[in-house]
């Protein structure tokens, strides 16, 4: 069954028949995690880097910010039976779709990725794949039967 993850949202699954997909990753990050032994995983679509500037919004919509979304994604997967050391983490997005000279003024896409990297580093996790930056929008898909992550951008499909 196909599940669409919207902006500032996530989905966890332990069903091998599920396909998780998120569309229109511009400056947002699509983050997938997958435990190939437990066959549990999830996908998040995250908009902004840090929640510190808007704690009320972060309380209401924790999946909007990288720093509040990432722990929830992992912990939700643990609760579903995933083990941290086995989890495969991949990320896509972080583009600068509104390129005005030096990139978009606030460089949201780049900041999202930097904050993600900082949190992964602090929590002892390495990325297994990433496709980040540029100007193009991306669609990201996670196949729960085998953990395969595919991207589609400008009509071209690739495996991450």
């Amino acid at each position: 069954m196909k599940h669409v993850i919207g902006v500032a949202d996530m989905k966890i699954s332990g069903n091998p028949d599920d396909i998780l997909v998120t569309y229109a990753l511009g400056s947002c990050l699509g983050i997938t995690v997958y435990d190939p032994v437990a066959k549990v995983g999830g996908m998040a679509h995250v908009m902004l880097p840090l929640s510190t500037g808007d704690p009320n919004k972060a309380a209401a919509k924790p999946m909007m910010f990288v720093d509040t979304a990432l722990p929830r994604l992992f912990i939700s997967c643990y609760k579903a039976g995933a083990i941290k050391q086995r989890m495969i983490v991949k990320v896509a997005g972080g583009a600068a779709p509104l390129d005005t000279g030096r990139g978009d003024y606030f460089e949201i896409g780049k900041r999202n990725f930097i904050v993600l990297r900082k949190m992964l580093w602090k929590n002892g996790v390495l990325l297994k794949g990433h496709d980040v930056g540029g100007k193009q929008s991306r669609t990201m898909t996670l196949n729960m039967s085998n953990g395969e992550v595919t991207l589609k951008s400008q009509g071209v499909r690739t495996r991450l």
Partner: protein, 155 residues
């Protein structure tokens, strides 16, 4: 020429802070005004097709955040680790900056990062460029001192 040099300094510094320190530049109007005196300053001397030193000053609590980020820890790092972090960042910025100026075929020897003298950080050398960057936590000021004329080579 000076603007080109400033851009190269900026680019080398931002790359280093983003990749090693997980810190990003912010616009001046997003930033708190920096305090008048730095928390610390280090310099790296270099010799090659041209010689000089790069001084980096850290402001506004940047040191402890930088060191904690590099180590991937929440606990406040020691003073020694904080200064080590700034020195290592200075070394990496310098190592990336010089080939961007002189070309990748040229060879430079870099000295060990050392604390900079507050009163005369450039040790009498003329300043070729100064760059200030506000980061998400704290700020840095870099001063490029050159003993010789700095060439502008096309990449």
């Amino acid at each position: 020429m000076k603007d080109q040099l400033k851009t190269k300094i900026y680019d080398a510094a931002v790359l280093t802070f983003e990749q090693l320190g997980f810190m990003f530049p912010i616009a001046d109007d997003e930033a708190e005004p920096p305090p008048p005196t730095p928390d610390a300053a280090v310099y790296v001397e270099f010799e090659g097709p041209f010689s000089g030193r790069l001084v980096i000053k850290a402001y506004g609590g940047l040191l402890s955040v930088l060191a904690a980020n590099m180590l991937g820890e929440s606990d406040a790092p020691s003073q020694e680790q904080q200064h080590d972090a700034l020195g290592e960042v200075a070394n990496v910025i310098c190592g990336n900056l010089l080939p961007s100026i002189a070309g990748s075929a040229e060879v430079f020897d870099l000295g060990t990062p050392l604390p900079a003298d507050e009163t005369d950080p450039g040790a009498g050398l003329p300043s070729a460029a100064e760059v200030r960057i506000a980061l998400d936590q704290g700020a840095i000021e870099m001063i490029f001192y050159a003993a010789d004329e700095v060439p502008c080579l096309e990449e």
